[in-house]
Structures are given as C-alpha cells and as structure tokens.
C-alpha cells in the first residue's frame, strides 16, 4: 500500500512531523513502513520559466532561440528544438548544472554556435506522463496549465505537485481497513495524538428515481455476495480529473484516466472499498443480477482477454450476460467510454474466499480482488458510494439521480466484547488504567460503554479480548512493557533420541566426514539415475501436486541421489578427495489417510585418493561400535541396485537389514558424471536407534598375559573371511579375545582361484594365565573348524 503524504494530510494534521519520524513511529504502532521516497527526488535545479522571446536559430531549420524569465535578474537564453512553444508560455527550465528524470545532467553550452544556458523540459524529462497532465503533449515541451503554480523561478516539483512523499506500507492480511488512506489516517491520528477529519460525502441530486434507469438489482447467491449498492449518474460529462485528484492517484501508483474512472479509483484508495462503474447502455434490461456463472459462459474482461467462467465463479450480469467478474474485473464493452452518458456506480461486498479462488483460477489478481480477498466491511459499501457520488457532484462529472438501490439481505451483526481492563493488564503484563484503555479504543472508533466494547464494522479482525489487548498494547507502546525472566525451574534437555543423533553425527565428524544438507524433494528421474529397477518399491513416493518444477516434485524415498548430487558437484569443482555424511529424512507413503513414515537414514560417501571399500567399511564399523552394536552379520550383496555387484555388503542385525554399503555402480557414477570411484553407505537410523546400546560399563583391564597365535590358510577365494572368522570364534570359545586379519594374498604360490588368509589370534583367560597347552588346543580347534569350509593350514 502506497500512501501519499499530501492525501494523508487532508484527513490528519501531520505538519511538523518529518518523513522519518512518521515512518518510525507508525511502524512501532503496528503499520510497518517498508520504505518512503520523495516524488521527483531526482529532479534538481529545474524551475518554472516564461517564454519572453522566440526566434528561429539562424543556422538550423528546426531550432529556436528563446529568452526565458526564470525569476532571476536577467532572462536566460536557451536553444530548443521543440515546435510547440509560443511567447508567454510557462515551461519547465532545467538550469545550468541541473538533473532531469533518469539522472541526466544538464549544463550550459552552445548549440550550433548559439549559447544555451539550460534546457526546456518535456513531461518525460520530469518523470511524468500525459496521464498526469492530459492537456500536455508527449513529444514536445510541457507547457504548464493553470493548475500549476506558474511563478517564474518556482521549483518545478512544487509548481507541478511533484513534491509529495510516498510511503510504502506492508499491511498484514488482518487489516484490510489499512489498505486505504482513511484507515492509515486513523492509525496516524492515534499514533500522534491528532484528530481524524473524515471527508465530506454529501451531494445534491437532479431528482428522478434511480429505478427509472437501473430497474432492479437481485443477489442470487447470499453466500458469495453480502451486499450490492447501485446508483445512477446521468448526463455524464467525461473529462480529465482536476490536478488534485490526478496527483493523489499518481502518488499511490494509479494512472489517472478520466473523471468517472478516477472517482472509482479515488474512493477505492480512500476508503479501501473497490468501486465499479458500468455504462447503462450495455446493461441489457437495465437490471443487475449478482449470480454464479453458467457452465461455459465467457466474458472478455477490460484487459481484452477472453475468459471462460466456471459455475462457482460469481459474476455481475445483466438480463442476459455477465458484465463483470464480481470483485475482480469489469467486462470490456460495459466500461466507461468517451461517449458514455449514463453510468451505474457499484459498491458491493463479496465473499473474500470466493473472490480469491476465482481470481486464482482465472490468473488475474487486481487491486480490487486483492482487497476483497482479505474480507471487506459490508457496512462500508454505502458510505463509499455516497463519497463517489459527492465527488461526481464536486467535479461536475454528471447529474446524480435520486436514490440508491441497496440490497443488503443480512446486515452484519456488530461485534460486542466485554471491556475488561484488568484482564488486558494481566495478559500483557502492564498496568494501564481503564480510562486510558478506553481512550485508546475510542480513538480507534471503538465504542466503550456500560462495560462493553462495540467494535467498528471495519475491524473484522477484532473478535476476542486478546485482540483488544493488542490494540491497547500497541498504542501504549510495546517498548514500555517490562522484561521479565521466566520463573520457576523446568527440566529441559535433549531426549534419548536427540542425544543419540548428536552422538552419531559427532562420530561421523570425528571420522573425517563433513555434514551436508540437501533438499527433501527430488526429481522423479533420480530413480533412473541411480538405476533402481522399474518395479522397485522405492519408486512409490509422495508426489507434490503443485511443485515448483520437476526437479523438486517428489519426496525422496532414498537419500542416496541427494548425496550423489553433492559428490558430483564437488568432483566437478575439483575437490579431489572428500568424505560426507547426512542424517537425512526419507518419506515412505502410507496412503492418503495416514501421514507418511518419515524415516531417518544416515548416508555416508567418500571418494578420492586412498578411499576404498574398506576405508568406508572401517567408518561404518566405527559408527556401529559408537552405537554399541557389536553383534551383526555382514553379507555380500550381488543384487543391490545402485551398487557394484562384487563390492557391496549388507549389514543385518537379527536378520533385519541395518545398512548397505559398497562401491557405487559405475553406471550410476556415469549418470552423475563422476569419473572416480565413490563408496557409499546407507544406514537405517531408526533401526540403529532401536538396537543401540550406549550404556557403558567398565570392564577390568586384563590382569593376565595374553598369548598370540598366527594362522595362515589357503582357501577358495570366494569363501568370505568373515565365515572363517566366525567358525574359529565359535570353536575357540570365550578365551578368544580378538581375531585380526593381517594378510590376504592371491597369486601363483597359492594356486588358481585360491587365496591365502592370515589371522592373528589373541587368547587370554580372564581368571588365569593360559598355558601353552590350552592355547595350542584352542588353535587346533580353530584349524579344524576352518577346515570345514576347505581352509587348509599353510605349512
């Protein structure tokens, strides 16, 4: 909402309050100023001048040499190429070292040998258009009319009214009343302790009866239209509006058009009530039907677009056809034209939700619909209509026919609240006495009497005593409310799950991985990119019905693609060796009646020099150790999508999959444009949390010495080391402290399809020193057990 200071001053005296002070204080009382700017601030050193002489330039067939009275001792000689000047004209003169609109500097110089001490300006050079001064021409010098102050030497901004200050407000959606000059004037008056003067809305009529012209108005849908008031003006005299209207509209960002259209816009800005004017000629049957559109009905709106309407949309129709989309935009042919003679003025109140939906569906948000959407005051329709008619009379834009057709089937009940100053004080934490609270409320046009508050109709946002407390608090001053520390003890802190998350992410960082943050939504194409089979359940995901684009249109069911994006970006940015992790949510749909399962997964990836399957597995093992998960199975996984068939494992606990880890499949890496091997792991964090054991109990440091025995076997290469380890572990029993694999070898010495694996066993008794015999017996048991998978002890 743009506010003209000049316009505001019509209703509240703000002389002596600087623009900055105004902005600061009105912001702190609740109307937030985004910015403010002086109109014409870029214009420097441009004044009014009167043409004294006008002679042809001797060396040019189109230039003129003028002398201009600019209020100084001597007239100035200025050369101009304009053809629309006469002696005696008043014109804008950009003096030596002046700045015109757009920042161009003007300095004195010579034109074809003749001295020119400045420049005569066009509208454009002042940042104006012919809409602002309809009597001026676009491609010539702006000849000032009688509506300007034509004192030679007068600053051009003052002379033309281009000296307003425009303040831009951010109006919150609960205060549609502040989308108006009057609304902001009321806030201003209370903020600065001034009096609000409302404009005159009285007018005389030419007699006759409105129904002689507008025969009837019918509202067919009381839910979508609360009120419709119509009046008629005949003998319309279309003309430009006077300057005081034009400059106020301009400052508020509305283009002046003609007196009738300008009046509707003026009242909309002044009272916040959208107005519409129809040409009666095009109203078939002379009736207005406020109804929903018929199936397939069309309208060409004022912007020239042909639009198809649907049955839930409210229209203003005559006997046959729609002439406007209610509250949004009028029809092209029923608008005001130069030969219009009789006009119907509409001031109506429509259902905000309905207007919002229609505007959205038609893809046309207008000044009008933006206001209706927020819910306007149906009680205000008549007042705004009267104001419009009074302006018609004032501007002599036509003859107002007697009477108004005002259809208002269900007048709004006034909101009445209890006046409870003590509750307000306790709720806010202030002590403002009842009289002062009453004063604030009355200044805002609330009525307070007999312990009740009568809420003005334009304050639809006030419906509870908490709302009253806000009115009191914001004008009392939020800054005057005390500050108090919370009292009483409270048992806060992280819960078990949050502590575990902190523990695990801390461990990832300690393992050299950097945390990343990626989007929760992805492109449905990522499933192809990570080579998921067509029938994979992971392709069943939550689809956003109105996404920004395909890239962010589905909720991920796996966080691997997000991680691979990160890897690819880093690889392409020449970050040669990196390790990352993300504790990421993935979303598994559970139908439309249940929210999805939001699963936490811990994803790791590493690449670059030194990174191998085993460095990644080392990290995963360290994480499991951190989580206190020691009993798990590792199985080779030949068929995991996205992963290398020979270099991938799943980790299971109690038969349930906890993690998958491996080298990312070369096809996937190709899809991501990554030219190096990448190792990735996905851990089901919710399951990990279930089986975690982070309780730590001290175990004695060993009191008895350990014995070590090294064993090397030759075995088929496809026998997993873990299988041999498990067999030996079971065979040895609890004196086995540790098995360490220290060498794996494949080569001619061990024969084809064979490998040599060497383990170091650490044996220890917790209650005694083991004898060699015990150790040897245990070793023998291990060797025999290993033999069951064909492992033969090397000589």
């Amino acid at each position: 909402m743009d506010l003209s200071r000049r316009w505001l001053s019509d209703y509240v005296d703000i002389s002596g309050i600087s623009d900055k002070e105004f902005a600061d204080r009105i912001t702190l009382s609740g109307s937030k100023v985004e910015s403010y700017a002086e109109e014409g601030a870029g214009l420097k050193n441009i004044v009014v001048g009167q043409i004294l002489t006008l002679d042809r330039h001797p060396d040019s067939d189109h230039m003129w040499i003028t002398t201009v009275n600019v209020g100084a001792d001597a007239p100035l000689q200025i050369v101009t190429g304009a053809q629309n000047l006469q002696v005696g004209d008043y014109v804008p003169v950009a003096l030596d070292h002046s700045t015109v609109h757009g920042g161009k500097e003007i300095v004195a110089g010579k034109l074809r040998g003749v001295e020119s001490n400045g420049m005569l300006c066009s509208l454009g050079e002042l940042g104006l258009t012919v809409h602002d001064f309809p009597y001026a021409i676009e491609d010539g010098i702006f000849v000032l009319g009688e509506d300007c102050d034509r004192t030679p030497g007068r600053d051009i901004r003052e002379a033309t009214g281009l000296d307003d200050t425009v303040t831009e407000f951010e109006i919150t959606p609960n205060r549609p009343d502040c989308l108006s000059i009057i609304g902001l004037a009321r806030e201003t008056a209370v903020t600065f302790g001034k009096t609000l003067k409302l404009p005159n809305a009285t007018y005389g009529t030419c007699g006759e009866n409105v129904r002689d012209y507008l025969h009837d108005v019918t509202i067919h849908d009381n839910e979508k239209c609360y009120r419709y008031a119509g009046a008629v003006v005949k003998n319309v005299r279309i003309a430009p509006s006077p300057k005081w209207i034009r400059e106020r509209l301009r400052a508020c960002g509305v283009r002046p058009i003609n007196n009738i259209v300008d009046i509707t816009n003026f009242v909309m800005l002044e009272y916040g009530q959208p107005m519409h004017a129809f040409d009666l000629r095009y109203l078939d049957g002379g009736v207005v039907n406020v109804r929903t559109a018929n199936e397939g009905e069309r309208i060409t709106t004022l912007d020239g677009e042909d639009r198809e309407l649907s049955p839930e949309m409210l229209v203003i129709a005559d006997a046959n056809k729609p002439v406007a989309v209610a509250g949004i935009m009028g029809g092209e042919y029923s608008g005001i034209m130069d030969d219009t003679t009789t006009v119907v003025f509409e001031s109506a109140c429509f259902n905000g939700v309905s207007v919002r939906k229609t505007a959205k569906k038609l893809g046309m948000r207008t000044e009008s619909s933006g206001r209706y959407e927020k819910g306007l005051d149906s009680d205000g329709c008549r007042r705004s209509l009267d104001r419009a008619l009074s302006l018609v009379a004032l501007l002599d834009a036509g003859d107002v026919v007697d009477g108004v057709i005002d259809v208002y089937p269900n007048p709004k009940a006034q909101t009445v609240l209890d006046f409870c100053p003590d509750w307000v004080n306790n709720f806010i934490g202030i002590s403002v006495d009842a009289d002062e609270q009453k004063q604030i409320l009355e200044a805002l046009d609330f009525e307070v009497r007999d312990g009740k508050i009568y809420v003005p109709s334009f304050r639809g946002d006030v419906e509870h005593k908490a709302d009253i407390s806000e009115e009191v608090a914001r004008f009392y001053g939020f800054d005057k409310i005390a500050t108090r520390d919370l009292s009483g003890a409270a048992a806060g802190g992280f819960n078990e799950q949050q502590k575990f998350e902190n523990l695990m992410t801390g461990a990832c960082i300690a393992l050299g991985c950097s945390e990343v943050a990626t989007y929760s939504f992805v492109s449905p194409k990522v499933y192809d990119r990570i080579c998921l089979p067509k029938d994979s359940p992971y392709r069943k995901n939550i689809v956003i019905s109105n996404p920004l684009g395909e890239d962010t249109s589905v909720m991920r069911t796996t966080a691997l693609p997000s991680m691979l994006d990160v890897v690819a970006r880093n690889y392409n940015n020449r970050n040669l060796k990196e390790a990352f992790f993300e504790l990421a949510k993935v979303y598994h749909p559970r139908g439309t009646e249940e929210l999805p399962y939001e699963q936490l997964t811990l994803v790791l990836a590493e690449y670059g020099e030194g990174a191998t399957y085993y460095t990644l597995k080392g990290k995963v093992e360290a994480l499991l150790e951190t989580a206190g998960v020691t009993e798990y199975d590792v199985l080779p996984m030949k068929t995991a999508a996205s992963y290398h068939p020979g270099r991938t494992a799943v980790i299971t606990v109690d038969g349930k999959e906890l993690a998958i880890l491996g080298e990312v499949h070369p096809d996937v890496l190709e899809n991501y444009g990554v030219g190096t091997k990448v190792y990735a792991a996905q851990i089901d964090f919710d399951y990990l949390y279930q089986i975690k054991n982070t309780v730590r109990v001290y175990r004695h440091l060993p009191r008895f010495p350990a014995l070590t025995r090294d064993l090397a076997f030759v075995v088929d290469r496809n026998v997993p080391v873990l299988t041999i380890e498990k067999l030996m572990k079971a065979a040895i029993g609890d004196i086995l402290e540790k098995i360490e694999l220290f060498d794996v070898y494949e080569g001619v010495q061990v024969g084809p399809f064979k490998k040599s694996v060497a383990f170091s066993l650490t044996l220890r008794g917790h209650d005694r020193t083991l004898t060699d015999e015990e150790a040897n017996a245990a070793t023998n048991r291990a060797v025999n057990a290993a033999a069951s998978v064909g492992a033969i002890l090397r000589a």
């Binding site: 702190l28 009382s29 609740g30 937030k32 919150t172 959606p173 905000g352 939700v353 919002r356 927020k374 819910g375 709720f427 806010i428 946002d461 509870h464 908490a466 709302d467 407390s469 806000e470 608090a473 914001r474 939020f478 409310i481 005390a482 108090r484 520390d485 919370l486 409270a490 048992a491 806060g492 802190g493 992280f494 819960n495 990832c508 960082i509 300690a510 393992l511 050299g512 950097s514 945390e515 990343v516 943050a517 989007y519 929760s520 939504f521 939550i542 689809v543 956003i544 019905s545 109105n546 920004l548 909720m555 970006r569 880093n570 940015n573 970050n575 390790a579 979303y587 929210l595 939001e598």
Partner: protein, 339 residues
C-alpha cells in the same frame, strides 16, 4: 719408582686428554690399566720393594691409578655426550614443513547455528520437540486459526500432496502437537525443515529451517516473552544487544510482534548489514491465541503462553556473513570446511 709413577701419570693424563673417541680412550685404558698395562706392571713390582717402601709406594701407585681411572671416566662421559649431541644434530628436521594432513570432518553451518540455539534454550529449561514435515492441513493451518480461504495462506505458498496433506510451511504446527501431548508448564522449541513454494535465489529457498518456541504456564505475559527473547538475543549476539518489538500479525498469536535486534555489526549506528536502520529482524513472536490454546487442550482462562519462530538460515547468514542462501544446500566442500 716414584719418578716412574709420576711420569706414567703425566703420560696417561696427556694421552687421555688427546683421545677423540671411545675406542682410543679404551686403548689408553688398556695400555695403562690393563692386565699388562704400565701402571699395573708397576703395581706388580711392589713385592720387590722393602717393607718400609712398600706402603708409601703402594699408596702412591694407587693414587696414580685412581687418578687415571677418574680421568678416563670423565673423558668417557664427555665423549659420550659429544657423540649424542652429534647424533641429535644429525637428526635435525625442517620443523617448518607442513604437518601430515588429517581428514577432518566439519559440522554443517546450519547445524552449528541450530546447536547454538538449542544450547541456549536448554540452558533455560526448554525441551526439544519434533513434528512431521509432511503434515495435515489441520496442524499447519486450521488449528492455528488459518481456516480455508484465509488470506494468510496466500503469504505462504504451500506445496500440497492432497487436499488435506501438505508440506508444512511453518514449524508452528508443533505447538498444537506438543500441547496435545504435554500439560503445562511447557517450555519447548521445535526446530525443523519447512517448505514454501519460493523459487531459489540468494535469499529464498523452497526449503529452509525454522525454530518454533512455545512457553505455556500460569500468568505468562508479554513481559516474559520480552525477557526470554532478550536473553536469546544477548546470548546470540552479546550482552549489550537490545531488542525492539514491532506490532505485527500472525493468526495464531495475539498480540503479535516482529522482533528486531540491535545490529551486531554497527551496534545501532547504521551499516550495510542493517540497511542503515540499526536494527535487524530475527524473530516473529506473540502471545499464544486463546483459541490455539483451546485447540491444544489447554484452558486459556487458566493458562497463557507465548510463542516465537525464527529462521535458521537467516541466523546463519548473519552469523557467518554468508550472502547467498544457496551455498548452504550446494554443499561445496570448500564452503563446508570454512566452519
């Protein structure tokens, strides 16, 4: 014999003084003190002396032997010390060469800021709550006084899954969920991801993080709100930080306000960071709307509360002077490793 001993002592000490290494010193020891050594030889001749001469000469000979032994030991110590010094000298490293690189992990800057805020609130007795990101329309809007058709829905362009299911646009729904499951006194924050249909640019992202806060108890007033959030501001930006409350509108709080902190760079004087205003907006807050308390199953006549919300990205951008929000989600290691 006496002269002979004096001569041997002088000769031995002179030779010891000239030795340059331990093996030469050992040769000297053998020559004078070994089994066939010259001093040993003299001692062997003692028997040939007269009984009167024997003790005198014996004493003298022992003294000479002792002196030579002492000299050898001293020389040996000195030589060993010298050798060690040489060895250490030879082991000299260029201590200015860089250390062996360690691959260090880094916490994401958003997490760093989030951790900081959590710590501040935990210090004030708050718990940390969570809520679903894919949420019902009811919790995200309706229960928060934003019914269907409410214009506030327009300001938060929402991603919808179905008519009733959406991606939450605010963490405020956690207020209702928390109240449904907890009785006052309540002190909680709920950090999390939120989603709005904003195209990506330097200051917008369709996904960002918010921290919701809720305090409900008997006699909670706006003074508590101010006190609590002033503490937050001071812990985040320093003891001399001030806050300013501007009236605002949120459907689920009444009164509502936006909260500015005095600019932590210029301390209110005006600088590019605060756009010369001296204040930077960091929070939205207000007294919980009585209807919202009711929907959470809490009697608004008995209890009152305040709620607030802040944007994590915004805090992180200020904290680390990051000028482009996209950096947080691009995860370039050169960016991540700065934190």
């Amino acid at each position: 014999m006496k002269e002979q001993l004096e001569r041997l002592r002088a000769a031995a000490l002179a030779e010891i003084g000239n030795t340059e290494d331990l093996s030469a010193l050992d040769a000297v020891r053998v020559r004078f003190l070994g089994k066939k050594g010259e001093i040993t030889g003299i001692l062997k001749q003692m028997g040939k002396l007269s009984p009167e001469e024997r003790p005198v000469m014996g004493q003298m000979a022992n003294a000479v032997r002792q002196a030579v032994e002492d000299a050898i030991e001293n020389a040996s110590d000195a030589l060993k010390a010298k050798q060690k010094a040489l060895r250490l000298e030879a082991e000299t490293l260029d201590v200015t060469m860089p250390g062996t690189p360690v691959q260090k992990g880094h916490r994401h800057p958003l997490s760093i800021v989030l951790d900081e805020v959590k710590e501040i609130f935990i210090g004030m007795g708050f718990s940390i709550a969570d809520g679903p990101e894919v949420e019902w329309d009811y919790y995200n809007f309706e229960a928060l006084n934003i019914p269907e058709g409410h214009p506030a829905r327009d300001t938060q362009d929402t991603f919808y899954i179905t008519e009733k299911m959406l991606l939450r646009t605010q963490t405020s729904g956690c207020q209702i969920r928390y109240m449904e499951n907890h009785k006052p006194p309540i002190r909680m924050i709920a950090p999390g991801r939120v989603f709005r249909s904003d195209p990506v640019d330097a200051t917008h992202s369709p996904l960002f993080h918010q921290i919701e806060g809720l305090v409900v108890d008997k006699n909670i007033t706006m003074a508590d709100l101010k006190g609590n959030l002033l503490t937050l501001a001071k812990k985040l930006y320093g003891e001399d930080t001030q806050i300013r409350l501007r009236p605002h509108h949120f459907p689920f709080t009444e009164p509502s306000c936006e909260i500015d902190v005095s600019c932590f760079r210029c301390h209110g004087k005006g600088c590019p960071m605060c756009k010369n205003e001296g204040w930077i907006e960091i929070l939205g807050a207000g007294m919980v709307h009585p209807k919202v308390l009711e929907r959470g199953g809490i009697d608004p006549e008995e209890y009152s509360g305040f709620a607030f919300g802040l944007g994590v990205e915004r805090l992180a951008m200020f904290r680390f002077n990051v000028d482009d929000m996209r950096l947080f989600y691009e995860n370039d290691a050169r960016f991540l490793k700065q934190f």
